[in-house]
Subunit: 320 residues, 2 copies
């Protein structure tokens, strides 16, 4: 059992795992190369991201990798996908935090918070009417647990809510209707807020392109809490710069950290945040609890939870 962390800085509350398994720590390539040779499981934590492909040939006994994040695009590489190694993710941990973040961003736009803060900086009392979210239209791309949490929050705010999933299907208690990804541009034309909560997979790469941004209403806002790779960033920059859409709030980018010379920092009506939507105080502890639960199952030979379909790139739920 290898933890992708140093023994000096172990994951919080990891004691529960040490009762069930021999733990080694590794946060550098040489340490990981040595530790992984005997390991049957890996808790992919922090710094092992870039190291794993390099030491992969030595991982002869590895059977399971627990990711500390929900998206596993950073973790997957061809040899791992081809192998029998099971990958589990942190599905479920970040749903509420991300939904709250999206609501906060929608309200920041609706209530003109950027203008409020700008007015305050200039000590100016600039009254202007606000928008109601109630009655507005929310489209959520990605109808897994995160997308559903966002949709539920939208419904609580009395918004009309639709979704976009892999395939078109009938609506449910959260989404009035669900379009397939091939219907994304049409669905986006309907919405006041378009939220991208998609994982980065070969199928979602640059799904948000010029045709999608071109179909959006001039007043509509785009919010990305999924992955930067799902967006054709040049098309988004153009749409914002030419004010063909109403604004954007971007928490993820193709390249992170966003370079200081990126155009995104100063586009009009655009909020740039540093990939924080899911990272609430306490998420480390929550992921460790999930890992310990899975370790218990692993040791007992029971099925693990949150098993990723490595070819799809996320946890695929059985069709209803």
């Amino acid at each position: 059992m290898v933890m992708g962390a140093t023994a000096e800085e172990p994951p919080p509350d990891i004691e529960a795992a040490s009762a069930m398994a021999d733990l080694s720590y590794a946060a550098t390539a040489p340490a990981l190369a040595e530790a992984i040779a005997d390991a049957d499981a890996l808790f992919a934590w922090r710094s092992v991201r870039e190291l794993l492909p390099e030491v992969w040939p030595k991982a002869a006994h590895l059977r399971w990798i627990q990711s500390a994040s929900d998206g596993v695009d950073w973790l997957l590489f061809p040899e791992l996908i081809e192998s029998d190694v099971v990958v589990t993710n942190a599905r479920g941990i970040f749903d509420q935090a991300i939904a709250e973040y999206v609501v906060g961003l929608m309200l920041a736009f609706a209530k003109g918070l950027l203008g409020v803060i700008e007015g305050q900086r200039h000590r100016e009392w600039r009254h202007r009417p606000t928008e109601l979210l109630s009655g507005k239209r929310l489209l959520v791309a990605g109808v897994g647990p995160i997308g559903r949490a966002i949709g539920r929050a939208g419904r609580d705010l009395r918004m009309e809510v639709r979704g976009v999933g892999r395939r078109a299907r009938s609506g449910d208690g959260i989404f009035e209707s669900i379009a397939g990804t091939d219907g994304l541009a049409g669905a986006a034309a309907w919405a006041d807020y378009v939220v991208d909560a998609l994982p980065a997979t070969p199928a979602t790469r640059h799904l948000f392109d010029a045709s999608v941004f071109g179909s959006m209403r001039p007043s509509a806002r785009f919010i990305n809490v999924g992955r930067g790779a799902t967006v054709d960033e040049e098309s988004l920059i153009e749409a914002l710069r030419e004010r063909r859409i109403g604004g954007a709030a971007l928490d993820v980018f193709e390249r992170e950290p966003l370079p200081s010379d990126s155009t995104f920092w100063e586009l009009p009506n655009t909020i740039v945040s540093p990939h924080v939507s899911g990272d609430f105080e306490g998420w480390l502890e929550a992921v460790v609890r999930l890992f310990v639960d899975n370790l218990r199952r692993f040791v007992a030979g029971q099925p693990l939870v949150n098993v990723v379909d490595k070819r799809e790139g996320y946890v695929v739920e059985p069709s209803p």
Copy 2:
């Protein structure tokens, strides 16, 4: 029937009223003095605020005033309170907009939006964990329709919600419990977010004083969408300046517009907004619909809705 507006700029959709009554328009003192002499009702709109006491002796036939706002502290004066003139307010129109605004402000604090925007201005990727609202404690002072809408939004976000009303009473579907105003300081000590949604009345004047701010947790935030007069502003300034509370978002002030030399503009962790929480696009139309509905009742001799208890300063609901 007098409208507090000019005929050139009438309230929107007022045609429905002109079918039921002779309308005169007045937005200056001489015009109001002339028009009010024959009027049996007044739609107190925009600029009549300061004019009414002056022309009051001429209002011999006046029986009803419809306020275009929910709070009527600006409208009431001793002779009006003593008179038989019925005052109705815009209760119910602003609930959802104000609740959304409060959620937006709570999320702005929880998600560190001020820091995000500051980081963006400096093109700096400053990752730091966010707070969850879920599980946090929300205290709402004011348990009328606006306070209840705020409480409901807090519950939708999975917060613990308590209220403060005139008298302590048992909780209900929204508030776990309701303290009386004499228990405000104790209730505030419990909360992560303290929201002031109180009307300005003699009973609420400076209710939020040094003892209340002194009892709050150092991390707790104060949000005022009620009235500035409910707060002892010097005590609030001191609490913020000395960082004895975590922050404040203030939409209302004792003096509005807030003077440009006010200390509030630059206090730490403080968001100053220009009394916009209720003023959603469409509120004028919504108030006119309410007025037309009441006018229909007035003409038919039926009881009006939203009748203000002029001594209490708001619509008093019958005790449950």
